[in-house]
Amino acid sequence: MRLKHMAIIIGVAYGIMALLPLLVGDIRFLMNILIMCLIWAVVASCWDVMMGFAGIFSFGQVAFFVMGAYCSGILAIEHHVTPVLSILIAGLFTAGMGVLVGLPCLRLAGPYVALVTFGVHMALQPTLRGEIGIALGSGGSVGLLTIPPINIFGYSFSSANIVPTFYLTLLVSLACALVIMFVIKSYWGVAFLALKDSQDFAMSLGISAFKYKLMVFALTSFLTGIIGAYYGHFYGVLSFRMLDLDLFSILMVMMLVGGLGHYPGSIIGAFLVVAGSELMAPLGAYRAVTMGALVVILVLALPNGVMGFFLKRASDRAPSG
């Protein structure tokens, strides 16, 4: 997809988002949902850069999200670091963790990368709950309960000021989306794709697999850590329960619905899945089953997701040649 088209889709998606508070106003429940949409859009997009563009089957995205959230939360609660600074530190910390996890993955092929990264995910929960976590200030099995909200020049962005908080989230999410867009369309993104398609050919043309694969890990875990930290300060409480499979699978569904490797599909996917999931709330206990069935149908009918479907329609309509 061209940069122009990508920018238009992102612009329209975030533009509609920006207008929604004017319609729904101060209804806190709806605003909360919209804010979560914006946060998941970033996580799903980062995951898409990793899997869809770089072709690295990493299952560590939720772990990086939780790491960022806990890092910033602990810094703010235990060490009284001001939230904006703690979010940045959390981003850098998560990027470092991303590189650490990425290093062994460089020598591994597809399914083994999935195992290592999912191992990190699985190991994080006992770490946070156990003695190491408690020593660091994770709050053990209670979690973090008193994370202060983001405070910029004395103005507090908490759920008490939900509309301004929404717009701040929109800005942060949009900034992340634009960073991802420019990276994908730069020669970094080309290097990611080339390494995914044929690593040997790419290396023989002068691309360092080591450098660019670590860069994918650093970049995606940095952004995921930042948005995770942001989530912590917005929500105010954190629990290791986020590492249960619910969040993991819903993020994967967002990515698949949007279209793997079809950025900015994952943003649209996040919006659609959150909206769909909320619309199905009246189904109660049958919601998860219905959602699962819908995903199966969608993946069979639109293997390249919503974005892949639209791209194909567009290219069919364009004169061939």
Partner: protein, 239 residues
């Protein structure tokens, strides 16, 4: 220009390349042939840094042994692969510019990329995804991307495999043109003896990773040892 000095590569107990030494001079088209499994492709992987080995490889007087593939590419050695490799996610133009952006000294040179696309005759397929190219197109794409790195040596690994007579002719013309017009030294692995005798100035025959014979192609192909390694012993008794 390229000196391979006592190079040995073992995979477990198997010596894929066994104490091999030879030299390729600047401007040459240098052929390498040998039966299947002789170690030709392995030798390419050693020269271009894909495998570690014992021995020394010098390029332009500089020891390149142990350097990673991307550095060797930047140093001026480009290669193609026996099984066509492309970037299905990228268009022809983008794929060729990968070589220029990452492999050439001085980074992306759009004018050069354009020249290369014209040179390998992929102008009409410029905006096509590389996965959609036919076999000959894929081979030209690999050569084009390699040329975009502005190499001093181009190493071709069985470029004619799977091609029909017309395609072989057009690839032979292209290779001769790369050597003659662009002044790029060429090393070529090939099974078609006619291609080798027509194109190359020097021919190296290897078997089981070791040198059997090296020299003028027409003399080499008539060497009794070479004939023996391809066809078996001439005095073998028929039962």
């Amino acid at each position: 220009m390229l000196r391979v000095i006592h190079v040995t590569k073992k995979f477990g107990e198997l010596k894929a390349v066994n104490d091999l030494s030879f030299e390729v001079k600047a401007g040459q088209i240098f052929g390498i042939a040998g039966p299947n499994g002789a170690g030709k492709s392995t030798l390419y992987n050693l020269i271009t840094g894909f495998y570690s080995f014992n021995g020394t490889i010098e390029f332009d007087g500089r020891n390149i042994s142990g350097m990673p593939p991307f550095r060797i590419a930047k140093a001026g050695i480009a290669r193609t692969f026996q099984i066509p490799q492309t970037f299905p996610s990228l268009t022809v133009q983008k794929a060729i510019s990968v070589g220029s952006r990452f492999g050439a000294a001085g980074g992306l040179d759009s004018a050069h990329v354009n020249d290369v696309i014209q040179f390998v005759d992929l102008d009409n397929e410029r905006t096509q995804n590389t996965g959609l190219l036919n076999l000959l197109g894929k081979k030209k794409l690999m050569i084009g991307a390699a040329l975009a790195t502005k190499p001093k040596i181009l190493m071709l690994d069985e470029p004619m495999a799977g091609c029909n007579a017309t395609e072989i002719r057009s690839l032979m013309d292209l290779i001769a043109k790369i050597n003659h017009d662009l002044k790029i030294t060429i090393i070529i692995i090939e099974h078609f003896m006619k291609v080798l005798t027509e194109l190359t100035e020097e021919l190296l025959i290897i078997e089981s990773g070791a040198k059997i014979c090296q020299g003028d192609p027409l003399e080499v192909v008539n060497d009794p040892q070479v004939i023996a390694c391809y066809l078996g012993e001439p005095d073998a008794k028929r039962k």
